[in-house]
């Protein structure tokens, strides 16, 4: 016997009471988090910020801490994060978010404080602020969105731009001889004892987005538990800045970018995950009077 294929609009089958095939009561599996505003974002098609905003909103809702959370914004495409995430928020000058967050957290230690920064903001102009906030072990969470480019200003080279990558300020491709190498900020910060949690996620596919959400959750839990500084770097896309379609950008992210920036958890000190500082090789340097 062959079933007749249904044509036309799918009708909801309403099984009779007691039908063993009856599905469980309807369950919401996807909705807009209440923390996300309903206004359209200013982000370009294929930009990763929308996904990452949503992950932050979902995590804060699941933790039920939004009412005591303060967002420290930054400068770049994500400058409008406070328009989309319905949280108490403060703007900071370009690169200074980690210092601003330090000020907020020190005077309101019982609040959840996080920064949301791009790679131009955090890894170039804000390098000193992020390194020292991490070194002090400030109990803040940092969401670090790395798309390897200055998106807001039209696609210039960032410290995170891959070697050979074409941007408006590296028109022949990033030449490491004159323009240096990408800065692996999360690896660098991982060596500091004040860093309680450091991880790198990606928005390249649904599975990675799920893992990245777990990293973001852990980075906030670490703050609530008072362990120290927490950072999640999220590898993201900038199709317009990269000169690609959204799908090409996702493919590029999944291949080249994720090869250059390996993902995973670098530090989770409370769980015993912590890289050791590199030791010098060869004959140790000792003062002449000291014991061998």
């Amino acid at each position: 016997m062959t079933a007749t294929p249904e044509v036309g609009p799918l009708a909801l089958r309403r099984p009779a009471a007691g039908d063993p095939d009856a599905p469980a009561a309807p369950r919401t599996i996807y909705r807009r988090p209440a923390l996300l505003s309903t206004q359209p974002t200013s982000y370009c098609p294929g930009c990763g910020h929308g996904i990452i905003h949503r992950l932050v909103a979902e995590v804060l809702e699941e933790m039920d801490v939004a009412g005591r959370t303060i967002l420290v914004g930054s400068v770049g495409c994500s400058v409008f994060a406070y328009e989309y995430l319905l949280l108490d928020s403060v703007e900071s000058p370009h690169g200074r978010a980690a210092a601003v967050a330090t000020g907020v957290k020190r005077v309101r230690p019982d609040r959840i404080v996080f920064t949301y920064q791009g790679d131009g903001d955090l890894a170039a102009i804000g390098t000193a602020e992020i390194v020292h906030a991490a070194a002090r072990g400030e109990r803040i969470t940092v969401i670090f969105v790395n798309n390897g480019i200055y998106g807001m200003t039209g696609g210039q080279m960032a410290p995170t731009t891959l070697p050979g990558q074409h941007t408006t300020s590296s028109p022949k491709g990033r030449d490491v001889e004159t323009q240096g190498y990408p800065l692996p900020v999360t690896e660098m910060l991982s060596l500091l004892p004040g860093v309680a949690y450091a991880a790198r996620g990606s928005v390249a596919d649904a599975g990675l987005i799920g893992r990245t959400k777990a990293m973001i959750r852990r980075a906030f839990d670490v703050q609530v538990e008072g362990h120290g500084f927490a950072i999640v770097e999220v590898l993201s896309t900038c199709p317009v800045g990269w000169g690609m379609t959204p799908t090409e950008a996702m493919d590029h992210l999944a291949a080249e970018v994720m090869d250059a920036y390996p993902g995973g958890v670098f530090v989770d000190r409370a769980k015993g995950i912590a890289p050791s500082l590199p030791a010098p090789s060869g004959r140790p340097l000792r003062a002449s009077g000291s014991e061998a």
Partner: protein
């Protein structure tokens, strides 16, 4: 007590919740005092990695509702210009102490007043003003620290306390009148949006209409400050033929010069602005109306004198005597300049009074 320490303790007495700083001569004692005293009081002290970070920590703490003090000296103050502009645009109160040293550049660690224009005419970018209070003694510095917090919170603006290396380093016997300063209720501070709409503290207004409206609001605040907060002190002005105008350490030298001039029969007087912005222009014009000369005395190459000229509006000849680089004029040097101003100007309309 050293001036730097007195300023620090006055801030603690006033109810300062948090201090952020970075070492620089000649204000390091202020940071050191706070490093010891703020933790004793259970309050926040952070030695930042730079002046940039210090002022941005202040920005965050202020947005979260804390009463905040930051201090530095000239080169460090330059680094803070960006965030001061943001704080003015975001309407965030903070008190910033500048213990001025010689400039430009790394300059010297001697006392100077070369940051007058920076403090009064626009520290950072954009259309904003900052009230500037200039003490000329340690006792007055203690008084003005409290007033600075009041002004900052009443008008939601950064306030600069402009001192110099001599005031910061000098020790004077003081019977300190440390005061607790009442808090201005605030409905804009960040604490988490529990049971209320989220608040955003920001200076960004991308639509031209919005930014102009915001700037109009700021300008209205500045007009209010200019109308109500001008302060000055006068000595021997009633019959003065030469009015010396000076603030801070320079005013103390000018005072001695005025006394010596009077001993010699030259009727000099001292007009001492205490608020450098708003500058007490009307008051100076009135005070100098009957004089035959006005002499600006400053530890800079001719900055205060610009405001003096603007105030006098050509009614009386204006002269300038300034030393720079940490060099401080002697009272006799200022007396000579006073005599010169007197001798090259015609008698007042009323003749010798």
């Amino acid at each position: 007590m050293k001036g730097n320490e007195a300023i620090a303790e006055a801030a603690i007495a006033a109810g300062c919740d948090a201090y952020f700083g970075y070492p620089i001569t000649p204000q390091a004692e202020l940071l050191e005092w706070m490093a010891r005293r703020m933790p004793e009081e259970g309050r926040v002290f952070v030695q930042a990695e730079s002046e940039l970070a210090a002022i941005n920590m202040a920005l965050g703490a202020s947005a979260a509702g804390a009463r905040v003090l930051v201090s530095s000296s000239s080169p460090g103050i330059s680094l803070m210009a960006e965030a001061m502009s943001y704080m003015a645009g975001s309407r965030l109160p903070v008190v910033l102490v500048n213990v001025m040293r010689g400039g430009p550049g790394l300059g010297s660690i001697g006392a100077a007043q070369g940051d007058y224009l920076q403090a009064t005419k626009g520290h950072g970018h954009g259309d904003y003003r900052t009230p500037v209070l200039a003490p000329s003694s340690i006792a007055e510095a203690i008084e003005l620290v409290g007033d600075a917090f009041t002004l900052a919170e009443r008008y939601r603006t950064p306030v600069i306390l402009l001192a110099d290396g001599i005031l910061g380093q000098a020790m004077e016997p003081v019977a300190p009148r440390f005061r607790t300063i009442a808090r201005t209720p605030a409905d804009w501070t960040l604490s988490g949006a529990e049971d209320r709409a989220p608040r955003v503290v920001k200076s960004l207004h991308l639509r031209p209409e919005d930014l102009e409206h915001h700037n109009d609001t700021l300008q209205a605040v500045y007009a209010d400050i200019a109308a109500h907060e001008r302060r000055w002190a006068g000595e021997a002005l009633e019959d003065a033929e030469v009015v010396l105008v000076a603030y801070g350490t320079a005013a103390r030298i000018a005072r001695t010069a005025v006394e010596r001039a009077r001993d010699d029969g030259l009727r000099a007087g001292l007009f001492r602005p205490i608020t450098l912005w708003p500058f007490p222009a009307d008051e100076l014009r009135t005070a100098a109306a009957g004089a035959r000369a006005v002499l600006a005395v400053e530890l800079s190459a001719g900055q205060l004198v610009e405001d003096v000229r603007l105030a006098i509006e050509g009614a009386v000849p204006v002269f300038h005597h300034g030393r720079t680089g940490g060099m401080v004029p002697s009272p006799d040097e200022v007396l000579t300049a006073t005599r010169r101003a007197w001798s090259v100007t015609p008698m007042t309309k009323e003749g010798v009074r």
